[in-house]
Symmetry: C2
Subunit: 184 residues, 2 copies
DNA sequence: GATTCCTTGTAGCAACTGCTACATGGTATC
DNA sequence: GATACCATGTAGCAGTTGCTACAAGGAATC
């Protein structure tokens, strides 16, 4: 691996931490370069342009997220949708995962705005979510798997969004209330 | 009403349409001025600064949203949470309201980034949501009203977020699947 | 030893950002 | 008719944005 590739990898690693810590708030080229510990000139030597930086970093973050989701709820024993939602909710609102979900909401908004490279990132991460849910979902024959998977994801993302907006610690109570709303 | 105030009102009205149509994508001062049909110089004559423009416009949009929510589901007969979610979901994913929800998601993300004046806007709109749900929620004695209200809002917002990300028309199937997930 | 490529720094450009100083014509008030 | 205020245009400022031209030191290759 050339020096360039090694530095590129190191930059991606550092910037993943930066995005998870600060969201998309400090993502000008110079701010990214500073967070990566290099000059902006060098950042654009390692990457073609800003969009490529963000795409590489977000791909790394998405990989990390899907890894954690996979080990939090293995795909061995499919769960009824309500139980899957419960367990996923408990996990994603936990202190460890909140920053991932918060960044995810910001990325979705950036994609809605059409800002490159976020639409592509969102499509990729969303496909990963769908797949994750699909392989863990115990549904009766003839049910709408796609629709149900989307609904499960919606509930999880909704919890994250409200969590972002709330200053006090509403998440546990919200998750508990949600649990009683779900059918067995 | 002075000319200035009249023009200010007209600008707010036009800009509300602009934000609902384009989200937060085109919100530089010059772009806002162009959408309002005035020069950027005049926009800053009607408003103190950009944050005041956005605050005024978002307040208008929030008022419109709460008006529509109120008339879509009147507060006369409280509903069980599952039924409230069903009806709210059907309404907010409809063609009329999607642009409101999409803008809402963008505003939440901007608030998460700490961008003025969005944190204040989010607090205000969120309080309105909570109140809207609270006055329509039929809950047994001793239940966690705040937690349940937050959960209801989370589900609604989650549907909107997934709706934004999906190119095909998944919303109706998602809402239907969600409906079967909810307990009676 | 000459040449070429990898790596890095300095400097800067053109576009855009939010915002402002200044001038000017009009209208109302005294 | 003088004065003051309202409304609006022209011009531009300082800062930030993404990105680039150019040069140069060092290592590798011929």
């Amino acid at each position: 691996m050339s020096i360039r590739d090694a530095q590129r990898e190191a930059a991606i690693e550092r910037l993943a931490g930066h995005l998870l810590a600060h969201g998309l708030a400090r993502t000008s080229l110079r701010q990214l370069a500073s967070a990566a510990g290099v000059s902006d000139r060098m950042l654009l030597y390692y990457f073609a342009d800003k969009a490529e930086v963000l795409a590489a970093v977000m791909t790394r973050v998405a990989g990390e997220l899907s890894l954690r989701l996979a080990e939090a709820i293995p795909d061995g024993a499919p769960l009824k949708p309500a139980e899957l939602v419960r367990r996923a909710a408990a996990f994603t609102t936990g202190p460890e995962m909140r920053r991932f979900m918060r960044l995810w909401v910001e990325v979705v908004a950036a994609a809605a705005r059409g800002e490159a490279p976020f639409p592509a990132i969102v499509a990729q991460v969303m496909a990963g979510f769908r797949d994750w849910v699909d392989t863990r979902l115990d549904l009766p024959e003839g049910a709408d798997r796609e629709g149900t998977a989307a609904a499960v994801i919606a509930v999880i993302d909704g919890l994250a969004l409200v969590d972002i907006c709330s200053e006090d610690e509403i998440a546990p109570r919200m998750a508990a209330a949600l649990s009683t709303l779900l059918a067995e």
